[in-house]
Symmetry: C2
Subunit: 353 residues, 2 copies
Amino acid sequence: MLLGPDELDDFAEGCAVLGTGGGGDVEPAVAQAAAALQAHGPIEVIDLDVLADDDLVLPLAGWGAPTVSIEKLGSGREGHVLRDAAERWFGRVVGALMPGEIGGGNGVHPLAWAAAMGLPLADADGMGRAFPEGPQVAMQVAGLSPAPAFLADEHGNVVTLEPVDGDWYERLARIVTVAFGGSAWGADFIMTAETARGTTVRRSVTHAIEIGRARRDAGVHGVLAATGGLRLIGGKVAEVERRTSGGFARGEVVVVGTGDDRGREVRIHVQNENLRATDGDRLLAVVPDLITVLDEATGSAIPTERMRYGQRVIVIGIPCDPLWRTESGLAVAGPGAFGFADPYRPVEELARG
Amino acid sequence: MLLGPDELDDFAEGCAVLGTGGGGDVEPAVAQAAAALQAHGPIEVIDLDVLADDDLVLPLAGWGAPTVSIEKLGSGREGHVLRDAAERWFGRVVGALMPGEIGGGNGVHPLAWAAAMGLPLADADGMGRAFPEGPQVAMQVAGLSPAPAFLADEHGNVVTLEPVDGDWYERLARIVTVAFGGSAWGADFIMTAETARGTTVRRSVTHAIEIGRARRDAGVHGVLAATGGLRLIGGKVAEVERRTSGGFARGEVVVVGTGDDRGREVRIHVQNENLRATDGDRLLAVVPDLITVLDEATGSAIPTERMRYGQRVIVIGIPCDPLWRTESGLAVAGPGAFGFADPYRPVEELARG
């Protein structure tokens, strides 16, 4: 499948939905991708089955606060530098790029590099959504090591990390990102296509485009149909509380029901992404399922940092990829991994009451 | 030449003299080296001419504050980890270890690893002395790049740096050292024996042993004879002023003359190492020449952090390796590199008045 300027907006809208409030702002990523597609032509989105078994798949993701990324634009060369570092390390060719997370701007950015490098984009990602921490990826659940992980900045500096565990990975990558001025691009969990087939979330690029297209055709209803999502509440944003702590944007959003939902009130807990939605004592949805706030009129996803008092919204819950519902998936990104006491229950089950 | 327990003390005394007040405390390094020599037998010190042209020479040096290094002992495996990282990167075997700087504990430590790994120690180093900053080495003067530079901690974490220049190297290495808890072991300017022959200070291990032996036989006079050093003053430490700023131990030491030197007063400027000695307006010695404070009774070098009011000392100036007196050597480590306004003049010339 070719992905060109005509598909870009649909793809970005889909990434925003899967970003579940986070994953980085899509707007700067769309601008960069549009310019790259203009200059280099459409990119090819290919299934992992099409790649040769030992082709390298290079997952790419941004590190650092989204607020910094918006102001400190990259050189546009970071992807090349990371590709070169991986090829030198493994002594074989990178066959395809892959978004580390499909959600938000992190899903859109690799498209710009694929165009500039003339490489295909694998139709897969590491999450099927966005999560706040680096090691919360399908490859981690599958038991792969993130090492060697490469970080690059806009000057051409490259740092290779071989951490002894996930905590050291987080710590070293964060401090190097700070030394780089607050944002960096990274490649980790680099693997062969053969390995990637069994350890990633498949078809997520195609899925994002489908979501975006459905939204364009049918707004909120289209998004619900394309994602298998469930409507949690329709109403007005009544409260937005944000604080930055521990390098994350944390807070709560309260939506007060209108129309059929008059009298109800839904509270969403946020740590970069929307993690948990409750109606009084009743749990409506919780990680690893997706909670996305859509603009009532357009069906476009509203990221956490653009949530405002008075917005008319529909909050939806989307079943996560089945891998997150396994025991090892829940250990990495279930309610307990974020400090919530709730035992995990699928959003479909919670909806039945 | 074999270097065993019998030569260790002489070697360490020589390293302390060449440490010119810094280079890290020799005592913990001597304890570790003694244990390694006991366990694995003497090491071989070999001239670079004896190595095959394309054998890798691995310069090793400690990063971080000496105060932290004393409290936070390494695992003793860092050298192995750095050797493995270098061999993997270059796809060839490490033929010999080399002290990055011969001065102080940094000169002694590689001996412990050479013993544990069964590798020879190259009879050379990167400075012929100690300097405060990583890139102040002969290989830098020769135009080599420090990259890839490897850093390892006691847990087994490894970070590889490919900085775009020396400033980025300092910045990234310092911040990773902080993430590692304040100290790290590193390998940089890794090169073949063929390259090392023309870009290092040769025979510095042998030289350190000669200095130590001469001290044992003839105290201060022995050190002066073995180093070609000049007596700058004999007297009592009258003032020691220390402050830590910018990650360095800075300060001043004042020695008031006794005996033939009665009525004179010499002031030494310190930044980890002793950098500049003056008598009133008269410059006596300045970097890159060595300024070392010896115990009057024993001839042992006193490191900056052990300088105390009332000590009876002889301050000596030692001509540096000729490479530091070239234009490019002075650009890297001359008076201007440390913010001093003095034009460089060799200590022998200054002594003639």
